[in-house]
Amino acid sequence: DGRQLTPPPRMTLRERLREKISAAFYHHGLLCASYPVPIILFTSASILTCCYPLLRLPLPGTGPVEFTTGVRDYTVPSHEPQGDLGERPDWYRGPPVAYIQQVLVKAAVSPWDSSLVPVDVFRSPLGRVFSLLEEIRNHVHSDSTGVRSLEALCLQVTDLLPGLRRMQSVLPEHGCLLVSPGNYWQNQRELFDSDPDPLKTIQKHEPKGLHTSATLRDLLFGVPGKHTGVSHYNRKRVVTYTITVVLVSYDTRFLGSLRSRLKQLHPSANCSLRDDHMVHVHFKEEIGIAELIPLVTTYIILFAYIYFSTRKIDMVKSKWGLALAAVVTVLSSLLMSVGLCTLFGLTPTLNGGEIFPYLVVVIGLENVLVLTKSVVSTPVDLEVKLRIAQGLSNESWSIMKNMATELCIILIGYFTLVPAIQEFCLFAVVGLVSDFFLQMFFFTTVLSIDIRRMELADLNRRLPAEAGLPPPKPGPLRPREAPPPPRPSPHTITLQTPAFRNLRLPKRLRVVYFLARTRLAQRIIMVGTVIWIGILVYTDPAGLRTYLAAQVSEQSPLGDSGGGGLPPHLGVAPVFHAGDPTSTLSVLPAPEPTPLPENQSQGHHGSAGAGPRPQVPPAVPQITWGAEDEEGWRRLSFRHWPSLFSYYNITLAKRYISILPVIPVTLHLSPQEAIETRHPQDTRHPPPPIPKVSADLQTDLTLYKVAALGLAAGVLLVLLLFCLYRVLCPRNYGQNGVAHGRRRRGDLPCDDYGYSPPVSEISPLLLRGHSMDIECLASDGMLLASCCLAGQIRVWDAQTGDCLTVIPNHGLRRSSSSGCWEQRDGWDSVGGATEPECLGSDCREHSFSGDGLSEDEGDLLRRRSVPARPTLFTDQPDLTPLIDTNFTCQPPSHLATPPRGGFDFGGLVERAYLEHESPSPSTYPSPSSAASSSPPSAAHLQRRRSLGDAPTLPAQDRASTAGTQATADWDSSVWAMELRGNLIAAGRSSGKLELWDAVEGSLRCSNEDGVSGITALAFLNNRIVAARLNGSLDFFTVEINKPLGLLQYRGAPGRGSMPPSPCYSSEDVISCQLTRSVQCAHQKPITVLRAAAGRVVTGSQDHTVRVYRLEDSCCLFTLQGHSGGITAIYIDQTMVLASGGQDGAICLWDVLTGSRVSHVYGHRGDVTSLVCTTSCVISSGLDDLICIWDRSTGIKLYSIQQEVGCGASLGVISESLLVTGGQGCVSFWDLNFGDLLQTVYLGQSSDGQGVRQLLVLDNAAIVCDFGSELSLVYVPSVLEKLD
């Protein structure tokens, strides 16, 4: 209750603040709900405005970016950003990490001699690297400014990273970073010369496994492995390698002199490489797979967080819409914060993608959820505006408090003075504020729209219910409500597959099973394997990537430089056609164009261009220089330079290097030289077998190897995971289609996953005695009355299961023509458990004639039932002995074929008797008091009577006293029955209401005021309400005339839901008077009748529910809202009223006001039964689904799939224990979690029959009927649990 308009006089500052805040929020809520569209437009506009600066931020990408400048006027860029940057990218500031000077060496032995062995192709060319190295190392340039040597200019490196011990022998340490193939032999010519197999040495350093980044060979040779030509199968016989010098500072003169010196020494005649521009390569923060994994993880966690948060949004029109709005709120607040920060010059140096999840988590979705919940929980009947305003002001204080706390924490973080954290905090602050802004404006407005939509929809559905008004908008709205779609709320899990029918699994298991069912894991693994193989193929040095890279580099430059692109004259390296090389050379600053030396080899044709020369005989290796050599480093992996530097713990991330134009060096070696440098073992190498195949074969083999390896690994992974699954879930969970056999009797209900609930000591008591299917069940806690289709009413002790009374005569009359049922009674008393087989045919026959209304069957029954008559109609003494003797002398052989037409006068007699029957119950005589003389154990005695005996005297005279005027109607069947105290109220299809004494089995009174069949009965205190087939409702009052002293109370004190009914002693005169009859209570037959808390609620097929007051039979409300006949009603002492209809809808009503609280569509088909607990509503439908709903929100919590035909049987024992019936068993469920606790089997013979009715008694016993048997399951431990 945040808003109080009249503040108390004494208030602390805090309270006043709180007051103010909530008032402000209230007004704000009103504003938002009043003008939703302008506000949403405003917020969208502000979001877009704030995000506008984001357009200028570069898009993320991992590839390096390059920028080309001319060599001649190169100066180190300054740190400060300059005004007229032009095309200059942002990163081009300050000196680069290093300058890379590559000396590209192409060497060949020429002319090629047939006496040469393959090793000669590369041995002597490689050998020349050492002299070149010497040359470079010792090059000194001296001029007026001083003496410069390489030592002074190069990048001095220290230790390699400690993890790279293997490379220590190969890569330079503590000195210049100068890399060449000579490093394989520690830059010592002697080692190279004594090396018997240089290829092996090179191969030795290659990584064993598969490598994704630049290999050592690439690093040292400086050209991709394929292009080096260092192999036995080199057909071109040209060896290419580079000497890479890494310089820390740029000295034009030194480099110029080095270039001219090398060119002079080793002139490249036809070389026309441009050397007038240098390329600056900027490396982004590298995001490898390894770095991606934590990132992906944080995102997964983020999405899980969002999922679990938005799942809590309830009671709104569109759950997903609101969830989307919540996510949009958070995301756009983040974007806004980034945009604002950029606007005010705070460029984000942090990796946005990395900190983003943390920001979301810090900002959180809590406020949004709290707002929603608060608004939803405001009274429904208020106006939308007011609801929003109230909800806002209710939560205003906590929202402000949270916000203040978060700001404080962030402020503390800001004072850590760590730049990264400070930046994060700054972002978070801006994000928080913008998030608050969006919550207040955007989300609140969306919420108000949503609530309004819900109200409208609700209103449209409710309006026809209000006092029968015609719907105001009949047009487009009708079809929307006409088909009641079973609206599945998206988060409920309905177990539909048969495999899940018996058991509600814990959620986490369900997730696993879901994965298993959809074979998600296998598919993911498969896809992953494919991707992995793809990556392997792609990144394999000999594989696809290099090929692709080569293709790409031939077609286009590596990337577009920053913003401006390349200046046209510097952009793409032009393919250099034949022309005068001197024109380009003249551009060079330092070196003079060197004249070609005279002693060039004859293989050279200096004047020609770069093109290949077809006329050259193939035996002569031709060294050509093409455009691709100009920037040979492009063919390398883009991780080449970062990995080289990373070995020395130098990161290139977000920095750049400058690559200077290569210095071409051409070496021609004579065959003599090659032979001289031979190692003795070189000649032992076998000549290449078939050089044509092998070159291709090698790369192919690598590919195949990779593929095979990947495949094997993938298969292994799949197998491993499969085994894991088998271990986790030992049963075949994957196949729900497989019929898992019929449950054998005695088997425990073990679901398909190996989980079987343990047994405990619950054992059912079987109550046998009825001959046909039991139709009605009634109980008051101590006694239990049941009525079967044959019209026999039996009263049982609910504690022990003993049969106290058989309202016998009728039952005997019908049944005992064969004598078999009495015989069975005898068996029952003995305790035999077997149902006699002789009943089989009989029972079937009876059950077909179920309702006892069909004429021929009734005749048949009457014909058969003669022998039992005397027990009832002893007022006609002439017939009694005859029948009696007839019965006793009936031979058992005639059981199956009773004599037809033998005793049909019984029916005539009965009809005659019915005519004489006195119709007025008001003139009710008192001879029933005589019945008290019969001992109470008469029923027992009678039950234990063995076959063949005549009915006993007590039964006779009891019947004679009671039956004289209040007579039973045996023609009609019992349609409804109630039991209170020891009075059984039975409503018959003939419209007759009878009151029986439950203990003694005598008819105490009857009322025949109505003619229409009684479809439902309610017996509350001393009133009986009977609903009739014609829609009328009769209120009866039971009057007891008895001495006061004899008043005693019986009944269960257990649950307190029913007031203990007074026990009617047999001395009393009981009369049942019709006090009021509501003729047209409903237009159609009344289907349900419930009474509790002084109210009588009726449901009818005319789609309405009516509430009557019990005292004065006054109709209080007519509740409309169902679009089908009412099939189930629940009302209890706390005035909770729930109704379910044929449309599958469940409505909760407020009995005090008559308004509908909630309305859900739960079932396909009729709702068959309804029970409420304090927290939930349990409904079952014809679709055999039991749904558990949250009572306050109307959200389906979960549902239980029942077995076919057992849907209606359910009961609630305690707040958390639900009982449902199944095929021959009852199951206990934990209501809170939907877990199956236990299944109790009712008996050996109950296998095929489902439990159709289930009644929970007050002493925590459950009675259920399956077929003609009753089962009493006593659940003592529930009482312990209830304590």
Partner: protein, 242 residues
């Protein structure tokens, strides 16, 4: 556990009489059938343990990757060639530890008789995990001026994590205890040369390691408690019965 085992073995037996005798074997007659029914604890425990283990393994892999990337920890080169560039024994160890912690927390809660009620929902747990990953991220990636500052910041973050998501004394105590033990174990490991830190500032390790351990314990405890939430009612009832 033995109770459920007898119950499970009895589950093959049918018929009222045998069931009665089966339940008679149970040592505590005061325990009603429902209580023993709900607590199918072995299965439950195994499932929970497995889930916690996998979560631990996953987090260990990911977070170790962070550390290895930034060259905070170094493993010998011969182990480096394994899948996630870390030693093979790290994830299983972390998984086992997290399973133990995750099972220990609810167990201790029930022993103390004060079930954890604070913010019991999955979204909160997810938030907690995210903050934990964030703390790791900060420890690996954020460049601090000095180690003391880094350690203090992380310690404050860890305490904040506990205050935001846990707020139970038992959780705090257990976290501190396990963090100290784990730190000790790490010291021993590093001392024996199993791996090393590039720039140790606290004997052989980094001084923020206890904070990370503490935050991890809190996180895993949070997850474990949430997983055990389904059994809480039962446990409560049982304590009531006892």
């Amino acid at each position: 556990m033995s109770l459920t085992l007898t119950a499970m073995t009895d589950s093959t037996v049918t018929g009222g009489q045998q069931q009665r005798s089966g339940s008679g074997q149970m040592s505590r007659p005061s325990r009603g059938p429902y209580i023993s029914v709900i607590t199918n604890r072995t299965t439950n425990l195994v499932i929970r343990g497995t889930m916690l283990f996998s979560v631990g393994v996953f987090l260990a892999l990911v977070l170790n990757l962070l550390q290895v990337q930034r060259n905070v920890t170094l493993f010998p080169p011969d182990v480096i060639s394994s899948i996630f560039s870390s030693a093979w024994w790290v994830p299983p160890c972390c998984g086992t530890a997290s399973a133990m912690i995750g099972l220990l927390y609810p167990c201790i809660d029930s022993r103390l008789g004060e079930p954890h009620k604070f913010k019991r929902e999955w979204s909160s747990v997810m938030r907690c995990v995210a903050v934990f990953v964030g703390i790791n991220h900060a420890s690996a990636k954020v460049d601090f001026a000095n180690n003391v500052q880094l350690s203090l910041t992380l310690a404050a973050l860890s305490i904040g994590l506990w205050w935001t998501f846990d707020r139970s004394r038992s959780g705090f105590g257990l976290g501190i205890g396990i963090a100290l033990l784990a730190t000790l174990a790490t010291q021993l490991l590093v001392y024996n040369g199993v791996f090393q830190y590039t720039s140790p500032d606290f004997l052989y390790i980094r001084s923020w390691l206890p904070c990370i351990f503490f935050a991890g314990v809190i996180t895993m405890g949070n997850i474990g408690r949430q997983l055990a939430l389904y059994e809480y009612k039962v446990v409560q009832e049982k304590t009531h019965q006892d």
